[in-house]
Symmetry: C2
Subunit: 241 residues, 2 copies
DNA sequence: AAGTGGTCTAGACCACTTC
DNA sequence: AAGTGGTCTAGACCACTTC
């Protein structure tokens, strides 16, 4: 029960109090006051406040106090940031649209130099090459090319990759993909992009490429995703400096 | 002296030890061992390890231990992620190229509804409208349109916005821009994009738009940046779920 | 049962801001 | 000088993994 954690309880309560406009002056009580209000240690208060600060809901200023981000009250939807359209079945379903997958290629190839580096492989290792077209309500939205070492998931099959590979890992092998390094760019569409994603030559793709990791840190997949430009929107809260 | 902080010292030392391949089995000593090795509290060890985990340099697994990301050893450059080409003078200079600014428009307009919401303004408020072309080594790379409430920086001038506005704020007004909400997309180039950024109609722009905040949480600027697609590459470490 | 990371406490002392 | 957030300690107890 994650909700039972002290700092999470306080976190949610503070979120609610902020949203209920309990601090119209945009200033939260100081940490020592919160400590006695909630009857917990100052560390737990700090932890809750740190999460709020990381989410951009409050700003802390040493010596002055902790302040509510005025935007949070007016526009809470902004605060559901971070990677809207990742190429993950789950996040696609979240939009209320029905996700679909069409397998374009499923084969085994020797690992290239880049794969050897990024997936931590030896020169003689092989990888699955998996090309899939992702759909939302039968609309093609993304061409995904993934490379997965056969030694990590030797039993992969065309049938398995017709569904969510991440879900398969979690359900059948009790392994979780928890992190990824991604780089995000815009690129002109290639002829193949245009054909598969119904784009005109003037319409671009958004490209997200990178590495997915299992939760013990094993690099699991090298991935390249080319998205219909209207379906890529990446939101981030950026710390400057 | 930030470097004097206990957890930062340990952080840097661990980073060095990892890079020197002092843990060939990819497993760090457990936290209690590190505690006695460094002669500090376990909290400080945890703090250092948490930073390393957030940076993707190590992975922690409850019950098992803390593991080195193998990629860190092979490809450290990957780990300088997070927002390469933000439209900030400083980050541009970092590439070794000489940044330039050409002011396209500097005027005052009434705040639109969107600006009222995002910049927390009243209906009768005015904003500076600042359109600038950003250059790197005389190459145009970005069209930046910014809206700044006049009441936050009433003394802004065409001369000031010919340089870095953020640096001006920091030097002259002792205010810092520390955070921003950004959304990142790909879009076909408009005719204006093509003219100003030397693009063909097939070449797209990367669009980064959002809000910049001062360190007390005041929304400072609404910004829209249209980048030559070859100059936008956003790197992120993404936590899944 | 032993190992290992996660949560939480109570309190000391420091650093920056405001008055 | 008073207010307020930041760093750090020492230690208790919990939860998950491995053997």
């Amino acid at each position: 029960m994650l909700a039972d954690l002290v700092y999470k309880t306080i976190l949610k309560d503070l979120e609610k109090r902020i949203f209920d406009n309990e601090f119209p002056a945009k200033k939260l009580p100081d940490e020592r006051t919160l400590t006695s209000q909630y009857g917990v240690s100052r560390s737990s208060i700090k932890r809750a406040l740190n999460v709020l600060a990381n989410e951009g809901i409050v700003f802390k200023k040493r010596g002055s106090g902790t302040f509510v981000n005025p935007l949070y009250l007016k526009n809470r939807s902004l605060f559901n940031y971070e990677g809207s359209n990742l190429g993950v079945t789950d996040s696609m379903r979240a939009d209320g649209k029905k996700p679909g997958i069409k397998v374009l290629d499923f084969s085994v190839i020797p690992a290239t130099k880049e794969m050897q580096t990024d997936l931590f492989l030896a020169a003689e290792d092989f990888v699955y090459q998996i090309r899939r077209l992702r759909l939302l309500d039968d609309q093609p939205v993304m061409i995904e090319t993934g490379y997965i070492p056969i030694k990590i998931a030797p039993e992969l099959s065309r049938t398995i990759v017709s569904g969510s590979i991440f879900n398969y890992l979690e359900d059948k092998k009790n392994q979780t993909v928890t992190k990824s390094f991604l780089s995000i760019e815009a690129q002109p569409s290639t002829e193949e992009d245009q054909k598969l994603l119904n784009l005109t030559p003037q319409e671009p793709v958004g490209v997200m490429s990178g590495i997915f990791f299992l939760d013990d840190g094993t690099p699991f997949e090298l991935s390249n995703m080319r998205l219909h430009y209207q379906y890529m929107k990446y939101n981030a809260l950026v710390e400057l400096k």
